[in-house]
């Protein structure tokens, strides 16, 4: 029971990083500026590397002969456990960076808690990722400020991006029963602290450029933790998984 809960938790971490990384890579070749292209790809690379560390561990615990690549490329949408937020389309740069910021604020709080996990493997992966995500969070927060407090058009776009993404943030401040149990066992990050830190980070950045903070999002019938995704994840996976599925075990 404990092992199954831990695997699901590792998939939440790994799948979220992988899907967010894949979304960032969609900007490859068409970012608004060269420097942004480099930043988007580097953040994406960090996330895919972190995803591999989480999925390696999940695969080992499963112990059914599948490795991290099999988890990434041969699972269907309903088996993915990522946050709904990260599977949302990139939209314009305001949506892309606000999505990144909402994710980074959650990610940073999670990794900070996980660095002290009683599971040494988790603590090691988290401590390493936390260093990298510190830079991600700083950059995405600055972009929310720059667009939100910038020109008339950039502010309008940031204001329009908020309702596009806000309803998906509910998943960042709740936890499943099994996660709460894992946290009580000293393995998972404390969900209450993660929620508080996420709210604090978002409130601070929004207040700094006078962006209106919507009231807390409420639950709806989809739930990434249960594999109930929006229609966007299937399309993303169709692209990401095409080659390994069409040419199983291809090497180059």
């Amino acid at each position: 029971m404990h092992k199954q809960a831990l695997i699901q938790y590792l998939l939440l971490l790994g799948d979220s990083a992988l899907v967010q990384g894949q979304r960032l890579c969609e900007w490859c070749g068409k970012a608004p500026a060269l420097e942004e292209e480099l930043a988007l790809m580097n953040v994406g690379l960090d996330l895919v590397g972190q995803a591999r560390n989480w999925l390696d561990y999940a695969a080992e615990l499963q112990g059914d002969g599948h490795d991290a690549d099999a988890l990434a490329f041969r699972r269907d949408e309903r088996a993915y456990r990522n946050l709904l937020l990260v599977e949302q389309p990139n939209g314009d740069y305001a949506v892309t960076m606000l999505k990144q910021f909402f994710y980074d604020a959650w990610h940073h709080a999670m990794l900070d808690g996980l660095s002290a996990s009683g599971d040494e493997r988790i603590a090691g992966i988290a401590a390493k990722a936390l260093k990298e995500v510190t830079y991600h969070l700083r950059r995405s927060g600055e972009w929310v400020q720059r667009l939100g407090g910038g020109t008339e058009e950039s502010r309008r776009r940031m204001l329009e991006a908020i309702p596009v993404l806000w309803r998906f943030t509910v998943e960042l401040t709740v936890a499943s029963d099994s996660e709460v149990q894992l946290a009580q066992a000293g393995i998972a990050a404390d969900p209450t602290q993660v929620a508080q830190r996420w709210h604090a980070a978002v409130e601070a950045i929004f207040a700094s450029v006078e962006l209106p903070l919507p009231k807390a999002a409420s639950h709806f019938y989809l739930d990434g933790r249960k594999g109930l995704h929006t229609e966007h994840l299937g399309l993303l996976l169709a692209e990401m998984q095409f080659l390994p599925r069409a040419y199983p075990d291809a090497t180059w």
Binding site: N42, L45, D46, L47, G49, D67, G124, A127, K128, Y135
Partner: protein
């Protein structure tokens, strides 16, 4: 078997001889980073341990960044260099803990980065996420500005010198 955790077979197994480990360290000091070919894996501080196990050299290597694409290349280069030096089937263990820090880059590594045109990390890893004063590797001026927090690789940021007007890479504190 986990990727990066290759266990050596029996072939070429032999007892440890005097000078083996010193020679292995010397070989590693000549294995350069593929992205920054003037600093070695020793300069970067990514070889954490070296000993002799079950008749083979055993190395512990830590990656710089979780997603660094050079990790596999570096491990392959290390393996190749050691085998060419006569160490049969060295075993490489990839270890994440403790996480790599720019504090582990040697003084020689910092000087080599600077000479190559990359500003070395300014201060300790405690400055992670901050914007420290970075000196231009070309003219040494401290009148520089951050252009982008991510440069040509994840470990670097892009700066510009206001004195000599040259853009340059800066190796971020991690």
């Amino acid at each position: 078997m986990r990727p990066g955790e290759l266990i050596a077979g029996d072939r070429g197994a032999r007892a440890l001889r005097d000078g083996d480990l010193a020679q292995a360290w010397a070989v590693l000091a000549e294995v350069m980073d593929p992205e920054v070919p003037v600093v070695s894996v020793i300069d970067l501080g990514i070889v954490r341990d070296l000993d002799w196990r079950a008749g083979h050299l055993h190395l512990v290597v830590t990656p710089t960044y979780s997603g660094c694409p050079a990790t596999e290349v570096i491990e392959g280069d290390i393996r190749q260099a050691l085998e060419q030096a006569g160490f049969a089937e060295p075993a490489l263990e990839r270890r994440l803990t403790p996480a790599w820090s720019t504090d582990w880059i040697s003084d020689q590594g910092r000087e080599r980065l600077r000479a190559y045109g990359i500003a070395p990390p300014a201060g300790s890893a405690s400055l992670r996420g901050a914007s420290p004063t970075v000196c231009c590797p070309q003219c040494a001026s401290s009148d520089t500005e951050l252009l982008s927090q991510f440069g040509s690789t994840a470990c670097k940021a892009l700066y510009r010198c206001r004195a000599c007007l040259e853009p340059f890479d800066y190796f971020k504190c991690l």
